[in-house]
Every structure is written in structure tokens, then in C-alpha cells.
């Protein structure tokens, strides 16, 4: 079985390398973005083969989904062809080859791939693997480490995501337009309309499942937020932005993004109020394990709300810009 996994991994890494190589030489930016989507999908598959299920989940939904959609929207505004470069490509090639050779030389000092007694597996990992099911009480160790042991770090990441939406909104801004000059949505694709409308509730249901089943299987707030945002993005793509604005408005999403971060931070403050440290979930209930459960469910919900609001708002910002430049 191990040989089979190795073989599949070799084949996939080769496909990934070929994709990257092809991207370098393509001048049609639409093709570049399409291949980048494949690149993300392939890297998610490789993560899956390397046992990183949660990472594969995130890469498939965030990397392949949201990034590709955002890049396509940007391309719609900036044009599809890359012009011929005027400067020579010899110097970059030289720099890259030298750096690459140095890095390859560096890898020879690395511990061999997959050995159980590599230094990485000696430090804190054994504790997480052995103790976290008892201390935190969740089968998914990634969720335990993410939400409990490294909860403060995750709070930081959530704040970074939140500040990204502030950056995008201050650069682009969401523009509500008057109804009459709107010609958006895939009006002529009737089949797509019907199918998309019927699929969206299922997708949102799946997002809720990922949100609340993340303690037991792959999933969690980050992935669930992105999947829920993807459902609304699908709605906005098929029926047009104004209809999506009528369902969830950009203003409301800004409040939601802030509310998610506040929900996360307030769990930390509440545990301080109960006499523990910041984000010490053991204080949340009489039984420490139950406290951990409450804490993780609430902060994952906060993460999910923030990520959902941020991703959807970023899409709104790009989408409304594209429609604006399309009308002009």
C-alpha cells in the first residue's frame, strides 16, 4: 500500500511540475488562470495523499475556488493577453538557476522524507497526538491544535483575514448601482439558472455540516465559511450581483465580518473573567472537557462567520468593479 501511495505521489508531483512549467510559457492569461486552477486542485490532491486532509479541504475550496474566481474577475477588467517582455529573460533565468541549485544543495542535508524519527516529529507533535484526544476530547487533532492549543495564533489569522477585507474595500469599494443600467447574470442560460437555484440550498447545508462536523472529521470554520461564501458567489454569478445584494448586502457583511472576530475574542475575554488565561476554555464549564467543547464550537463559529463575510465581500468588491467597467 505504501508503494502505491508513493507511486501516485510521484505521478502527481510530476503533473504539478509540468503544470507550473506550462504556466511560465503561456502568454494567454486566461489559460494561465485555468492552469492555475488545475495547479491548486493538484496540490490539494497531493496534500490529501500526504495525509493532510484539512489542508486539502482548505486548498480545494480557497485556493482553487476563490482565487480562481477572483483572478478571472480581474482578467475581465485588465485584458487577456500578456505583451511581449522587452527586457531579456537571461538574467532572471540565471538568478533562478543559482538559487535553485543552492536550495537543492540545501535539501541534501534535510532528513529523508517520511521517517518517523525525523526531528519534526520529536518536539511537540507526540504530545499533540497522544494527549489531545484526552485533554481536548476531539478526534480531529488538527482542530484541537488549531482551536485550542494554538487558539491565540488562529485569532491572529482571523484578524489578518479581517484586515484584508478592509484593505480590499478601501481600494475598490462596493458600489450599489441603479437597477436600470444593470445587465448582469447569465440571463440566457436557463438550465444553469434552474440547476444553480436548486443546488445552492444543498451547498449551504453542506457548509453547515462542515462547520459543525469539523471536530470529528475534516473541516472547520475556515472551510465552512469559504463553502458558504461559494454558494452565494454561485448565486451572484448566475443571477447577477443586485439579486445577491438583496439577499445579503455588503453593509451587513461588513458587520458580520467584525462580529465573527468579536465573537472569537469575547470567548477569550469571558474565560479571563472566569478567572483563567485568555482563551482558556477549561474555565467555560465545570468539566474542563465540556468547556473545551463549548470554546471550540464558539470560536469555530466566529471563524466561519468572519471568513464567510470576508470572502463574499471581497467577491462583491471585485464583481461590482467588473460590472462597472463593463457598462462603461
Amino acid at each position: 500500500m505504501a508503494e502505491f501511495i508513493d507511486l501516485v505521489l510521484l505521478a502527481m508531483l510530476a503533473m504539478l511540475a509540468l503544470t507550473a512549467l506550462r504556466i511560465i510559457f503561456l502568454k494567454d492569461l486566461f489559460a494561465v488562470v485555468m492552469l492555475f486552477g488545475i495547479y491548486s486542485f493538484l496540490s490539494a490532491l497531493i496534500f490529501l495523499n500526504l495525509d493532510a486532509v484539512d489542508v486539502a479541504f482548505t486548498e480545494a475550496s480557497v485556493g482553487a475556488g476563490i482565487s480562481t474566481v477572483l483572478m478571472l474577475v480581474t482578467l475581465a477588467m485588465t485584458g487577456r493577453k500578456e505583451k511581449q517582455s522587452t527586457h531579456s529573460s537571461l538574467l532572471p533565468l540565471f538568478v533562478v538557476l543559482v538559487t535553485g541549485a543552492a536550495l537543492i544543495y540545501g535539501t541534501l542535508d534535510m532528513p529523508p522524507f517520511g521517517h518517523p524519527d525525523n526531528p519534526v516529529h520529536q518536539h511537540v507533535a507526540p504530545r499533540y497526538i497522544e494527549e489531545s484526544p484526552k485533554e481536548v476530547g476531539l478526534p480531529n487533532m488538527v482542530t484541537s491544535v488549531l482551536a485550542s492549543y494554538r487558539g491565540f495564533d488562529t485569532l491572529g489569522e482571523t484578524v489578518v483575514v479581517f484586515s484584508a477585507v478592509i484593505g480590499v474595500l478601501s481600494l475598490l469599494g462596493v458600489r450599489r448601482k441603479k437597477k436600470k443600467d444593470l445587465e448582469s447574470g447569465l440571463e440566457t442560460h436557463r438550465v444553469l439558472h434552474v440547476v444553480a437555484k436548486n443546488i445552492i440550498p444543498l451547498v449551504i447545508l453542506f457548509a453547515l455540516y462542515v462547520q459543525f462536523h469539523g471536530d470529528f472529521g475534516p473541516g472547520g470554520g475556515f472551510q465552512a465559511g469559504v463553502i458558504a461564501a461559494a454558494a452565494f458567489i454561485l448565486y451572484a454569478l448566475v443571477l447577477g450581483l443586485p439579486k445577491a445584494f438583496a439577499v445579503v448586502g455588503p453593509r451587513f457583511l461588513q458587520w458580520m465580518a467584525a462580529a465573527g472576530v468579536l465573537l472569537y475574542a469575547s470567548v477569550g475575554l469571558y474565560s479571563m473573567y472566569k478567572g483563567g488565561q485568555f482563551l482558556d476554555y477549561n474555565q467555560l464549564a465545570a468539566d474542563p472537557i465540556a468547556g473545551q467543547h463549548y470554546g471550540i464550537i464558539i470560536i469555530e463559529l466566529g471563524v466561519g462567520i468572519t471568513v464567510f463575510a470576508v470572502m463574499l465581500n471581497i467577491f462583491y468588491a471585485f464583481g461590482s468593479q467588473a460590472e462597472r467597467s463593463n457598462v462603461q
Binding site: 494567454d28 486552477g37 486532509v53 447569465l186 472529521g217 454561485l234
Partner: protein, 88 residues
């Protein structure tokens, strides 16, 4: 049974490689998109089959996400075609 599953996985991988080749070199833009779409659907099947092969079929969630994102990507591409003229 594992042999059959392994054979099926490898064959799906071959199909994925062929679809990738189509996406690399396509006569029209639409062929490229078709290759990407086929790559996506075959990946869903690959994940499902390999989950059973490795004995941890609870990772089917990822296959669902792939199917979903693949569809959304396709819709985004169609929407992109409305903005720009796709014929070179």
C-alpha cells in the same frame, strides 16, 4: 478487491493526465475549459476511489468540495466569456 481499486485509481489518474494534456495544448479556448472540467470531475472520482483504497472513506467530504468548486469554476468561466470575446 484492493487490486481492482488500485487499478481503477491508476486508470483514473491516466484519464486525468490526458485531460491535463488537453488543457495544456488546446485548439480553442473552449477545449481548454473542457479539459479543465474533465480533470475536475475525474479528480472527484479519484478521491472517492482512493479513500476506499486507503481504508479511510470518511474523506469523501473533500470529493464533495471538489465537485462543488469545479462547478463554480465552470460558471465563473462562462460569466467571464460574457465579458470578453473568447475567440482569438
Amino acid at each position: 478487491m484492493t487490486d481492482i481499486l488500485a487499478a481503477a485509481c491508476i486508470a483514473i489518474l491516466v484519464v486525468m493526465a490526458i485531460a491535463l494534456a488537453r488543457a495544456f495544448k488546446a485548439p480553442t479556448v473552449y477545449d481548454r475549459v473542457l479539459g479543465v472540467n474533465m480533470f475536475g470531475t475525474k479528480t472527484v472520482l479519484f478521491i472517492a476511489a482512493s479513500g476506499f483504497l486507503m481504508g479511510r472513506p470518511d474523506f469523501l467530504d473533500i470529493a464533495i468540495v471538489y465537485a462543488l468548486i469545479n462547478f463554480i469554476g465552470m460558471v465563473a468561466v462562462l460569466r467571464f466569456f460574457e465579458y470578453t470575446s473568447p475567440i482569438e
